[in-house]
Subunit: 679 residues, 3 copies
């Protein structure tokens, strides 16, 4: 396989990344080591089945030791070594962290907090995303790099920046302030429009001129909510502009080479759906928490977001840890088998690459205790053995590459709503976008029902069920589309505190949730958040417990499937169902506890006709499907602590078991994985 093999579809200006097998490898930072180690690196990469590495992420400091004095000699040798060994390179643009000389010459590139505290060099990403100085130096470097390696045979993919906004998601400095004002002028054109959007008659905040506007720096009390919301939008955009500035250079010099950047999961500052429009393939870094028994569900949602952001095309697991990380308070290694299980999970959810941070464990620096494919203790280690075994295993199933996942259920997620939801000054500060998304995702995951996750402006036509978890901020257009979706026969599930505010965080008047009242057949008169630790019982067709939140609902056509059993709202509707047009719209005015949520969601998706991959899955076993020209593959992953037996409707063979025969009953050990091929 050559690097060009990945680019089968770069015709007509659309670059894609379509490898002919599952890639395997990781971040490669040879500059940490003397060159005599490099030969061993190549030898061990072959041993481990490495097909791709990401190189150069933090190499700026070495290739440009003085301003404008570029020295790529050592990096040429790295590229050649890799190319000679047939390892493809996902080549980083090296701009993630500027060298010390840049911030010494230009301290104004350093980011500042809302309190005016400057963030200094000494770690990484110490730049203001709006900084023209940073951007121009970055672009200058990318120009050099792209020119030098445009035709290098190892170059497979550009890796722009690194984890944008990980450490510098928002900056409040004067440079950012000026850029924010520019952004606002573009968005609003007139200061009157801004005043209207920001509701500045409140608390005497009316602006007479754009020049008066500032970032939401620390204020005596709650800052203007729309100012905060727009600052989140602006900050995301400032990072995106950094990315786009580099991308433009790459497009010009290497128009045929696809580009990507690695996102972090559930990363509030960066909207992956918006960025994906500018990525040829989407990529994710995901670090499971071995101490958390449900880390794979959080991962599953992040994987779905990454796949869906990329339009359903295969994506790249760009970073994961071979074993422990080093940046949590207490960092557990991954127990035997866990790394394999979680790697296969990514593939099961559509990934075409399993990559790690990093190849060889650092001897010094802030990540020396982060595990690597080649640990401090060398290759006679559990970690290296597990890595190499997985490399071989992935190499055995090239037919998986390019196949895709399909879902009949979609959950809506919206970064704009996230930014608005978690502000202060709301009925309850306990609402969390991530937590709520997972609360709705988990019962579907547990049931083995494949899900997509999309922002609300995408086409919902192909789905049997649309789940809308606490989408606080919702435009009238979205509400109209959801209404039309149900009218036309769709099934919709909406939960509490959804559809409350418009894009400017102004309440939709006319009884909550005004733009959804018709389709839901109800009116919410009052929000009734529950106290910490408090719960409420539900009674009716469905019964159980709920917590966190409740609402005073007046029915306007909907039917109560459950009512509150106690508390101030006793007897009032808690869960409702409304037949509307030829579809059904459900509403949850509270947060059911997990068991009730599972019962409820089973019923909702059952009515909608959204089926699981397999019926009767044992608890903890995840089941997914990928299919394509090479066949249809069912993945079974046992996340439970005990062995589990899965009954199949038709005999199938586990492709990971070389001697396995077709069977209808498959027992997975703890952390076991099976890939069932077309029989």
């Amino acid at each position: 396989m050559t690097a060009a093999d990945n680019r089968s579809a770069t015709r007509s200006g659309i670059r894609t990344f379509e490898p002919t097998r599952l890639h395997f490898g990781g971040d490669y930072n040879p500059e940490h080591w003397p060159e005599e180690v490099w030969a061993e690196d190549i030898r061990l990469m072959k041993e481990a089945g490495v097909t791709m590495v990401t190189a150069g992420i933090f190499s700026w400091g070495l290739v440009e030791q003085r301003p404008g004095a570029y020295d790529f000699g050592w990096f040429d040798r790295v590229m050649d070594n890799l190319g000679d060994a047939g390892v493809q390179v996902c080549l980083a643009t090296m701009t993630a962290s500027p060298p010390p000389w840049l911030s010494r010459q230009h301290p104004e590139i350093l980011p500042e907090t809302a309190e005016g505290v400057r963030k200094w060099p000494g770690s990484r990403q110490h730049y203001c995303p709006s900084s023209p100085v940073y951007r121009s130096h970055a672009v200058r470097l990318v120009e050099q790099l792209a020119t030098r390696y445009a035709d290098h045979p190892a170059l497979a993919l550009w890796h722009i920046g690194n984890e944008y906004g990980c450490s510098n998601p928002v900056c409040y400095c004067d440079v950012s302030a000026a850029d924010f004002r520019r952004w606002l002028r573009e968005r609003y054109a007139t200061v009157e429009a801004l005043n209207e959007a920001w509701s500045t008659t409140f608390w005497s905040q009316r602006y007479g001129d754009f020049e008066e506007v500032l970032p939401p720096r620390t204020t005596p009390t709650h800052a203007n909510p729309t100012q905060q919301l727009d600052y989140a939008r602006f900050s995301d955009d400032a990072l995106l502009q950094c990315y786009l500035a580099e991308r433009e250079v790459l497009r010009r010099i290497t128009p045929e080479v696809p580009v990507t950047t690695n996102h972090m999961p559930h990363h509030k500052p960066v909207d992956p759906f918006r960025w994906a429009a500018y990525e040829d393939v989407t990529a994710l870094d995901y670090y499971q928490e071995p101490y958390d028994s449900r880390t794979h569900i959080d991962a599953a949602a992040a994987f779905d977001v990454t796949r869906c952001a990329g339009g359903g095309r295969p994506w790249l697991l760009m970073e994961q840890a071979p074993s422990a990380v080093n940046w949590r308070a207490r960092n557990s290694p991954k127990p035997p088998g866990a790394m394999r299980l979680w790697s296969w999970q990514a593939v099961a959810q559509g990934a075409d690459a399993v990559l790690y941070f990093q190849w060889r464990q650092s001897r010094g620096g802030a990540e020396k205790f982060h595990s690597a494919m080649v640990p401090h203790a060398g290759t006679d280690t559990r970690t290296f053995r597990e890595v190499a075994a997985l490399g071989q295993e992935l190499a055995g199933l090239p037919q998986l590459a390019g196949t895709r996942c399909r879902a009949e259920v979609v959950l809506l997620a919206d970064w704009n709503s996230w930014w608005a939801l978690e502000q202060g000054s709301h009925p309850s500060s306990a609402l969390s976008h991530r937590e709520t998304l997972l609360r709705h995702y988990q019962p579907l995951f547990d049931a083995g029902v494949p899900c997509d996750i999309l922002p609300p402006d995408r086409d919902l036509g192909g789905y049997r069920l649309v789940v809308v978890p606490n989408l606080y901020l919702m435009s009238e257009q979205t509400a109209e589309r959801l209404t039309a979706y149900v009218r036309g026969g769709g099934h919709l599930f909406v939960s509490y505190f959804t559809g409350i505010a418009d894009e400017c965080d102004r309440v939709h008047l006319g009884g909550y949730p005004a733009p959804l009242r018709e389709v839901l057949g109800l009116r919410v008169e009052e929000f009734w958040p529950l106290d910490e630790g408090a719960g409420v019982s539900l009674r009716g067709e469905l019964s159980g417990r709920a917590d966190l939140w409740s609402e005073a609902v007046d029915l306007e056509g909907a039917r109560a499937v459950a009512t509150f059993g106690d508390g101030e709202l006793a007897g009032r509707p808690a869960l409702t169902r409304n037949a509307f047009g030829t579809g059904i719209a459900w509403y949850a005015a509270t947060r059911p506890e997990p068991t009730l949520m599972r019962t409820l969601m089973d019923r909702v998706r059952g009515e909608a006709g959204a089926a699981p991959v397999l019926d009767g899955l044992p608890p903890g076993v995840q089941a997914t499907v990928r299919e394509g020209a090479t066949g249809r593959f069912i993945f079974l992953l046992n996340h439970a602590g005990a062995a589990a037996t899965v009954t199949l409707p038709h005999p199938a063979r586990n492709l990971l078991d070389p001697g396995g025969k077709p069977t209808t009953s498959l027992t997975l050990p703890p952390r076991g994985v099976a890939v069932l091929g077309t029989p």
Copy 2:
């Protein structure tokens, strides 16, 4: 009733606010809405029985859109609409929050924290209280406003500023530093006097010149206590000077219109007793916490402070929430009946007005989820119905206006002591002025014994019992007055860590509490604060548990009513009683737990002859009395969760029950209220 009806006693330069009925209404911010909504506002105000609104609090940004360019046209229409409808206006001076152009022109008006962090515009009150720039712009605006509306028939009362010090209570900027030095020169005249007062020989802090003095900004370790105490005094004064600068303009232009400002309850930065000397009527904002089952007791103490600060005259409940607020972590609505109950509680404790924040719920901005009289969901809502019902109910009892409460027990509270008490470097950081005040207040409240709350420099002659809860800082003069009070037959109850330091926070030498040793008949040798979670038993005539604090007491004439039953102080006095002159002085060397505190306080007030409003009150039922020229009224308020039956000594009629007949046994439902009139 016209606005002038409120001012029956403005003769001889003393302005008072004496409405002829109970006022009802709230903050009115029509600028949030298009003018077409205003007509509906007026119509609904009539429906709800509104008699007074507060207008203009945050209108600066709209009436002065550019420096010096005033536009009151829209506000004229607001005033006229209200006047035409017979709604009186409590007119705000509009200075609570300067518009963005002011801090852009003069960034030096922005306040700074002790760490040097500037607080930026974007919320409210982003001004340094010492700023001459802020004050001059505020005064300029007030001059315009007062001139324009001096003769407007709707103008009933001036509302200066708003919640002074809510968001900018203390500023540490250079402007404040200079003002602090000016203030210190006035207070101490010579730097030698300051050195003496501040004990600056300690830690080499001696000042050679006032110019060396700074605010207590962040220091390597504990800052000088008297520097901190004086800074609290200065900061309170800086806010008061803002108020007085505006008041001076109003007095000049509208000498007959009374003025007020709305305080926050138990607000440490602002001493309500000191300010009240400059207020024609006192006013309070109080926001109950529905999740807290004892929120009404905290409220009761705040109401008493507000009434007593105003010399016992009726006061204004200037703000309360119709239902939920939005600024706590989790914000519960007020359950059905709670708003009515708590509103009547204010009246029962002497209020002549029940007002809300705010009239119409905001669509945007930081308080859009704060409840309002007219909710987002409109008037077909529980909230509006309860509001309107209360408006009608209050209208039915005009005879309550002007009547007063009387008390035989007074608790002493002193903001100076509060400021000194809660500094670091004390025996225990767990002492809290507010908590301690309530611990002493609650057993009296629960027993139905009316209380006043006053600073220690007021006349105590009329009281049967004086309660002094942990008044750490006490002048010799106060101690002498308390001693004389007991000598003359008064009953005094003093609790631990009282009378320790003088006005400069220097310890009174000679055995604690030196200036009270004679009257208490004891000496405290050592403070023995108890560890977190630890308790101690008490034995003797009174027995039970105590916690938080203990002291090693040597008796010098007093008698031990209880001794410590365990711990290092076992056998030593815990609660003492001293017959002194013709009076009695009690001392608590520890903090009794609530049940023992109730027993103790019942005995203390029993001996003093301070009787409850009614004997045998059921738990949770509050009883108060107002009386005046129109009669004597007993208020009964059921704060308990269950119905409660109150036995009356004489037949009385519940004036809130139109068909009710005189009875001696009255059953109050949960959250029920009765006003018993003279039969």
Copy 3:
């Protein structure tokens, strides 16, 4: 006894402090009081048996009221009063806190946090340790002081500064930054060497010039670990340079007067072992926490550090509280007898002086609630009585002065390792140098086994057992010395996460702990930190529970004394023993809970032949020995809450019991103390 009596060994340029009796006294701050109080001070000092006071610590502000205008008149009288009364003076250099005029003239002396927050005057130690302005003003003052009192008969000892680094341990200002660069140039000579040491290829941190280097100010994420480590070293050194600058003046003017400075216990910013090379006698401030039932064990370790830093010579307990302190959240007095017990504990562990902060309790200022020898309540107090009684008691045993402690067990402690260990980005943030040291120290203390505590570069030849608790950072040389120690017959106990990184915080490659693998006979493949609250069982010859940490160990010659009984490492070695050369090397791959730790350590020291002072000590009774020319003395201290009977192998007499007779069975009441003399 005259001041010169302390200096019996100042011959040949080596100054020592060797009093002929145990000193008793405290900090004396007469400037807090009018001169009329001073005569009483002297009278009461005699009554209390005071022999030495520390004077002048915070007198700078009074003796130099204007820059360069010195006024020592009042201090002359203080010195004369003391001299006349035969009280020796430990004379402070008065430089601990600069007066306000200095920071007003030179605000650049104020320290700054990593966030850029300036620390202002108003408390103490508000100076940047690198400040040349501060240092020059301090030296100028010391020159005056030394010249004036060089020949004063009361001058016994110089007390340089005070608690260096207590409130200003690290400064990040520009002055510090420049000084750091100077320090780095001296350390590394070339920027290439610094790049190598700091592993700056990581995250693009390569420096092109020393001028680019900054302190580890607040960064977007984890700062470079070696930058942080070197900053800790530099910051310690900056404080030491302040000390040395003053010391140089004193050596020149008063070459025969010994010098010291008072350290704080377990004080991370200051390495007492490094400083001790420049101190003629070591001194410690220790404030027990009466609420903590094991405070005496923490104290014991700090006492051992102080004694060992001084080469085993007697040391000074420079400050302790007569009763309560005032700077904890809740401050308990010392119960009756506790102060005596803990004072004798210092003597039992080698102190020749028992001093207090402070003589007379302040009336004002931030420490007015800190107890003193003469309390607010005067001398008719428990505190004064206990103080005076102890003064008399100590006076009765002059033969103790100059005797020494001996130990057969040494624990290694290393401030460099501490600085490196507790950084972020490690496998677990729950590792604490202090906690770990105490976990290893306590079982030896409880068994009555005397211990030394030393840094790893000292001679280990004389010890039977060397204990190495979690010494993360270890040079190859240290590892070689430990290996040689065992090879030659020594017993070594090493616990988890030891020997991991070199002096530059770079991992020793080749399997953990690479440089100790040979002596320990094992390899650690992976660190497996345990989750908060989680534990693991151990099985084998030794069994029990462990927590906090575990490791995957491969044996390479060692034998497993216990294996993990559950968890992911079940069956793998947990505690190992390796016969190596003629010695034994133990390894603990986890943290045994206290009871197992006691069993384990009893066995380890038993095999090593390290005996307790007395066999069969009752729980809670501490036993130590001092010996010298005047005899051998066994100290018994009952830290338990109940009486305890100690059986002696030979009859001995309790020297604290005037009428006591030799006995072999001695019963100590709670908080009881006995000093057994040579029979």
